[in-house]
C-alpha cells in the first residue's frame, strides 16, 4: 500500500500552531513595550516643559519685583542724600524672593564704593571694576553673572541710577541657591533637574544639582540652550534626560527642566514586564490546552491510524481506550465493527469460493467419469462442445472426431427434421426417447435422452445424458434385484412377524366361523332353516377372508415396490365417471361436480381407479342414512385434486391421523356392523404416494360427514406428443405395442381409454385402436378421429372381438388401414404396417 501525504500530520499542525503562538506573543510584548515607553516619554517631557514654564515665570516675576523695589529705593530722596554725604548714617533692607532667596542691597557711588548696605558695609571701591557700574549711574541695569567681590558669590545684578548721577542703588542676588529653590518650589514628584542659562553667552546661571560647581561655567555645547521643544539628550554630567525648556521673558535666559530618562521610563518598563508575564501565562495555558487536545485527539487518531494501516496489531477500540475523545472512541468502535463485518464477509466469500471450486471439480469428475455417455452441444450450430469418456467408448468416435461433428451426424437422416423441430421447442429440462443413434461402425442403438439447457462459455448449449436402453434396462433389473434381496433379508423377520400377527387378529375370526359351523353341520342334525343360516354365514365369512387376503397381498406388493405402475396421460373425469358407474345406484346418491376441460393427469389408470372405487365404497358404507356424496376435481398448485365428500358418520378428530394405517378401524356402536378388511385406505394411500401425490381426510367430527381427497400430477406437455397413439386398456398389450413401434423407429403415446385418447389425437400421426374399451367404445372414438383429423390419418385396429362382416365393412368404410385380431404377432404386425406408412423401416441391430 502506498501512503500519500496529503498535508501536514496532526503533530506538525500542533508544532506549527505552537510556533505561531510564541511569535505572536513575542510581537505583542514588543508592541506593548514600545507603546508604553513612548507614552511614558511624552508624559515625562510634557511634565518637564510644564516645570520649565512655571520656573521661568517665577524668575521673571521675581526679577520684575526686584526691579521695582530698586527703582523705588533709588527714587527715594534719602538715597541721594546718603550718596552725596560721606559717612552719613543709613539703613536699608532687602526682602528676598522664593527663587532668589539671598542677596544684598547697596548704594554705590561712582567710584565703586559702597556707602550704605543691607549687610555690613565693605570698605573701599569694591565695585570699581564692575562693568555694569558706569551704565547703572544713568540707567537701569539687569545682568548676570557677576562675581560679587563683597561675598565672592556669582550673582545677578539689578541696578537703578540715583538722580543726578551721584550713585546707583544696586541689588545683588546670589545665584547658587536659585537652582535648589526652583527644584523645591516646582519640582513636584518627578524631581526634574533645573538648569538656567543664558542663550547668548551660554553661561550657566543656576542649576539644581551641584550648583556650586556649575554656576558661572560656560557650556561648551550650545545645543542645550538652543534646541527647540522637548528633547532627549545627555545632561552636562552625562546622565540621559528628557528636557523641556521655557524662556524668561525680559532676558536672554532660558530655563531647562530635565527628567531623568531612566526614572521616567521605569513605570513603562514595569508595565511591559507585567504584560509580558500575562502573555507568557496565556501562552502557557494555550500550550497546555494544545497538549491535552493532542493527547485526547491527535495521539489516539494516530494510534487508530496505525491499527487501521495494520502497523500495529489489536482492535481499534483498545488502541484509543482510556485516552481518546468520545468521538474518536466512537470512530474506533465503528471501525472495529466495520473490520469485523469485512472479515466475516471475506471469510464467507472465501468459503463459498472454495465450495464453488470443490463443487465445480466434483461436477467435472462426475461428467468425465460417468458410466453413461454425456455431452454438451451448441443449440445454434448443433456442434459437440464437450464429450465424456463413456460417449467415446460407446459411440466409437475419438474425442477429436466428436468435436468436429454435429449432433445430426449421430441421428438417422429421416429423424433429423423432427429432431430439429423438437429442439426449437424443447423445454429447459427434457426427457424423451427412445431415439435411434448411429455408432461409428454403422450400427444403431436405442437411447433415452435426458437434456437440460445450460450456458457453456459463449454458447447456448444443451447438456445431454444418453442412456442406452438395453444397457439401462439391464442395470435397472440388476439394481432392483439386489435391492430386493437386501430388503428381503432385512425385512424377512419383520414381515413374518407382521404376517403372523395379521393372520391371528384378522383371519382367525372368519376362519373360526367357517370351521365351527362346518363342524356343527358335520356333527349335528340341524334343521334345514338353521343349515341355510349356517351356510350363509360361512359364505359371507369365506368371502371376507378372500377379500382380506387379496387386499393384504396387494398392499404388500405395492409397499415393496413390486407393483408395475404404467404411468401415462389419463382423463381423470372418465375414471371418476366409471368408478361412479361401478358403485351403482344402491345407497347414498352420488353427485359429480367436475369442471370442463380438466387437464390430463399422469397416472396408472388401474391403480387410481382402485383408489376412486375404494373412496366411493367407503363413503357409501359410512353414510347409512343416505345424504348426497359429492365427487369433485380441481387443479391446485400444479396437481389435480380429487375429493369425495359425504354427509355420513364422519371421523373423530383423534382418528384423522390413524385412519390410513393398516387394520385401523374407528370404534363406535354406529359403525360396528360395517364390514371391511381395514386395508382399503392403506392401499389407497400407498398408490397415491407412488404417484407423487398426497391423500388426506377432513372431518368436523363424528356424525358430521367427511371429505377424503387425493392429488396426482398433471401430464407433461411433451408426454402428449408422439408418432403413434396407442388406445388400449390392456396395459400389457399396450406395452408390447409401444416396444414394437420403438423398434421400428416410431415414438408412441399410450391412452388406456378413449376419453383420454380424445385429448391426445391432435398430437399424433397415426392411431392403433382397441375396440373393446372401458367407457367410450373404440368405434365411437374412430368416428371422432375421422371428424377431427379427416380421412388421412392412418388407423390400425387391434381387437379380440370377432367381427362379423357388417362390422368389418363398417370399419373399412371408416378408412381403417388394417384390422388385426389379437394374437402372438399382432403387435409386431401393427408396428410394421405403421412404420411402412409413416417412414422408412429401420433395421434394428440385435
Amino acid at each position: 500500500m502506498t501512503l500519500r501525504r496529503r498535508g501536514w500530520s496532526l503533530r506538525q499542525y500542533m508544532a506549527g500552531f505552537m510556533g505561531v503562538l510564541l511569535v505572536v506573543a513575542a510581537l505583542a510584548e514588543l508592541a506593548v513595550h514600545s507603546l508604553t515607553e513612548q507614552d511614558a516619554r511624552q508624559a515625562a517631557q510634557a511634565d518637564a516643559t510644564f516645570a520649565a514654564r512655571v520656573a521661568a515665570n517665577e524668575i521673571e516675576n521675581e526679577l520684575n519685583a526686584f526691579r521695582e523695589t530698586t527703582d523705588e529705593q533709588a527714587a527715594n530722596p534719602q538715597a541721594a542724600v546718603v550718596a552725596s554725604t560721606p559717612n552719613a548714617s543709613c539703613g536699608i533692607t532687602l526682602a528676598g524672593g522664593i527663587a532668589f532667596s539671598s542677596g544684598h542691597l547697596d548704594i554705590v557711588t561712582p567710584d565703586g564704593s559702597v556707602v550704605c548696605s543691607s549687610r555690613p558695609r565693605p570698605i573701599g571701591p569694591v565695585y570699581a571694576r564692575a562693568a555694569w557700574l558706569p551704565i547703572a549711574l544713568h540707567s537701569r541695569v539687569t545682568t548676570a553673572p557677576f562675581l560679587d567681590p563683597a561675598t565672592d558669590q556669582i550673582s545677578a545684578v539689578v541696578a537703578s541710577p540715583i538722580a543726578g548721577g551721584i550713585g546707583a542703588l544696586v541689588t545683588i542676588l546670589a545665584l547658587a541657591p536659585v537652582g535648589p529653590n526652583l527644584a523645591a518650589i516646582v519640582g513636584g514628584a518627578r524631581q526634574p533637574e533645573f538648569l538656567v542659562a543664558t542663550t547668548d553667552t551660554n553661561t550657566v546661571l543656576a542649576r539644581s544639582l551641584q550648583p556650586m560647581r556649575w554656576v558661572g561655567t560656560r557650556l561648551a555645547d550650545t545645543s542645550l540652550t538652543r534646541s527647540a521643544g522637548p528633547f532627549e539628550r545627555p545632561d552636562v554630567d552625562g546622565t540621559a534626560r528628557l528636557y523641556g525648556r521655557w524662556g524668561v521673558g525680559s532676558t536672554t535666559w532660558v530655563v531647562l527642566a530635565g527628567a531623568d530618562r531612566t526614572a521616567a521610563l521605569a513605570s513603562a518598563d514595569q508595565f511591559a514586564s507585567r504584560s509580558l508575564a500575562i502573555i507568557l501565562a496565556g501562552v502557557a495555558v494555550m500550550l497546555v490546552t494544545a497538549f491535552v487536545v493532542f493527547r485526547r485527539i491527535a495521539e489516539p487518531v494516530r494510534r487508530l491510524s496505525q491499527v487501521m494501516r495494520g502497523a500495529s496489531s489489536g482492535a481499534a477500540v483498545n488502541a484509543v481506550a482510556g485516552t481518546g475523545a468520545a468521538e474518536v472512541a466512537d470512530l474506533a468502535e465503528d471501525f472495529d465493527k466495520l473490520m469485523e463485518s469485512v472479515k466475516r464477509e471475506l471469510a464467507e466469500r472465501l468459503t463459498s469460493e472454495q465450495k464453488a471450486m470443490v463443487s465445480e471439480r466434483n461436477y467435472r469428475m462426475l461428467f468425465e467419469s460417468h458410466p453413461q455417455p454425456m455431452w454438451l452441444y451448441d443449440i445454434d450450430t448443433l456442434a459437440f462442445l464437450k464429450v465424456n469418456d463413456a460417449a467415446v467408448d460407446e459411440y466409437g468416435y475419438s474425442r477429436e472426431e466428436f468435436l468436429g461433428m454435429t449432433i445430426k451426424d449421430i441421428r438417422p437422416p429421416q429423424d433429423v427434421p423432427k429432431f430439429l423441430e423438437l429442439i426449437a421447442n424443447s423445454p429447459t429440462f427434457d426427457r424423451s426417447g427412445p431415439w435411434p443413434h448411429i455408432l461409428k461402425d454403422g450400427s444403431t442403438i436405442q437411447v433415452l435422452i435426458t437434456s437440460h439447457a445450460i450456458r457453456f462459455g459463449e454458447h447456448d448449449a444443451r447438456f445431454v445424458l444418453a442412456e442406452n436402453l438395453t444397457e439401462s434396462r439391464r442395470l435397472e433389473l440388476e439394481l432392483s434385484q439386489s435391492k430386493a434381496r437386501a430388503e428381503s433379508n432385512a425385512e424377512l423377520g419383520r414381515a413374518k412377524d407382521e404376517m403372523m400377527s395379521i393372520v391371528s387378529h384378522e383371519m382367525r375370526t372368519p376362519l373360526a366361523s367357517i370351521v365351527g359351523f362346518t363342524e356343527l353341520l358335520v356333527t349335528r342334525d340341524v334343521t334345514a332353516r338353521l343349515r341355510k343360516q349356517y351356510l350363509e354365514v360361512m359364505l359371507q365369512e369365506g368371502l371376507r377372508l378372500t377379500a382380506l387376503i387379496t387386499d393384504f397381498l396387494d398392499l404388500r406388493i405395492i409397499e415393496r415396490g413390486h407393483q408395475t405402475m404404467r404411468f401415462a396421460p389419463a382423463d381423470m373425469g372418465a375414471l371418476i365417471k366409471r368408478s361412479v358407474d361401478l358403485a351403482g345406484e344402491a345407497g347414498a346418491p352420488i353427485e359429480l361436480r367436475l369442471p370442463e376441460n380438466l387437464p390430463l393427469v399422469r397416472v396408472d389408470s388401474d391403480s387410481i381407479f382402485r383408489v376412486l372405487t375404494n373412496l366411493l365404497s367407503n363413503s357409501r358404507k359410512y353414510s347409512p342414512d343416505g345424504g348426497a356424496i359429492v365427487v369433485g376435481a380441481e387443479v391446485v398448485d400444479g396437481m389435480l385434486e380429487v375429493s369425495v365428500q359425504d354427509h355420513g358418520l364422519g371421523v373423530p378428530a383423534d382418528a384423522l391421523t390413524q385412519i390410513f394405517e393398516k387394520f385401523y378401524r374407528v370404534e363406535g356402536a354406529d359403525r360396528r356392523s360395517i364390514k371391511g378388511t381395514g386395508l382399503g385406505l392403506a392401499i389407497s394411500k400407498k398408490i397415491v404416494e407412488v404417484h407423487g401425490g398426497k391423500i388426506g381426510v377432513r372431518s368436523e367430527g363424528a356424525g358430521k360427514g367427511s371429505l377424503f381427497y387425493f392429488t396426482v400430477p398433471l401430464a407433461q406437455a411433451q408426454a402428449q406428443i408422439g408418432d403413434v397413439l396407442v388406445v388400449e386398456d390392456d396395459a400389457g398389450f399396450a406395452q408390447l405395442l409401444e416396444a414394437e413401434l420403438t423398434g421400428n423407429g416410431l415414438s408412441s403415446i399410450w391412452a388406456a381409454d378413449a376419453e383420454t385418447a380424445e385429448h391426445l389425437m391432435a398430437n399424433v400421426r397415426a392411431v392403433v385402436l382397441d375396440l373393446l374399451l372401458p367407457g367410450l367404445s373404440g368405434e365411437i372414438f374412430l368416428e371422432k378421429v375421422r371428424k377431427q383429423r379427416g380421412p388421412g390419418i392412418p388407423v390400425v385396429i387391434v381387437t379380440s372381438k370377432n367381427l362379423d362382416s357388417a362390422a368389418g365393412l363398417a370399419l373399412q368404410k371408416a378408412g381403417v388401414m388394417a384390422v388385426l385380431l389379437k394374437g402372438s404377432d399382432t403387435a409386431a404386425t401393427a408396428a410394421r404396417v405403421l412404420a411402412k406408412t409413416l417412414g422408412p423401416v429401420l433395421v434394428v441391430a440385435s
Binding site: H505, R508, T509, A512, V515, G516, L520, V537, R672
Partner: protein
C-alpha cells in the same frame, strides 16, 4: 344389545336355572357359540362389547361367561379382572375365546383367573365339553 331370551326371575322353590353370558363383537361368532351350547338347561345372554358384557354380568350374576378377548369398549381381560375382583361373582366361571394364539397371551389369561382358554378357530364340540365341565365344577 341383548338377543335370545332373558328371564330375570328364577321360579321360587325350583333349582335355579343357570345363566351363561356370551360376549363377542362379531355377530357370526356369537351365533356359533350360541348354537353350540344351546340347551334348555341354561339361559343365554349375549353382549356385543366389553362394557355391555360387564353390565349384563353384574345384572344376571351368571354361572359362566364366554369372553372374547379383543372387544371394543372393555377388553375381555379387563372384564375378567372385574369379575374376579367382585365377591358376589365368586361362583362365576370364565372361558376366554380369542384370536390371540401366543403362549404369553394364554398365560396372561390364566393368571388373570380364567378357567379355560380357547383359541380361534376352535372346535364347537371342544367348547361344549369345556362349558359342561365348567358348570359342573363344585
Amino acid at each position: 344389545m341383548t338377543s335370545g331370551w332373558v328371564n330375570g326371575h328364577t321360579p321360587t322353590g325350583l333349582p335355579a336355572v343357570q345363566t351363561v353370558v356370551i360376549a363377542d363383537d362379531e355377530p357370526s361368532m356369537r351365533l356359533l357359540v350360541h348354537a353350540t351350547i344351546d340347551s334348555d338347561d341354561y339361559i343365554v345372554v349375549e353382549a356385543g362389547d366389553g362394557t355391555q358384557a360387564w353390565a349384563v354380568i353384574q345384572k344376571h350374576k351368571p354361572s359362566l361367561v364366554l369372553l372374547d378377548v379383543q372387544m371394543p369398549g372393555k377388553s375381555g381381560l379387563e372384564v375378567l379382572r372385574l369379575v374376579k375382583a367382585d365377591p358376589s361373582l365368586a361362583a362365576t366361571k370364565v372361558i376366554l375365546l380369542t384370536a390371540k394364539a401366543q403362549e404369553s397371551d394364554i398365560e396372561t389369561g390364566l393368571i388373570a383367573g380364567a378357567d379355560f382358554y380357547l383359541t380361534k378357530p376352535f372346535s364347537p364340540l371342544d367348547l361344549l365339553t369345556r362349558v359342561e365341565e365348567a358348570l359342573q365344577l363344585p
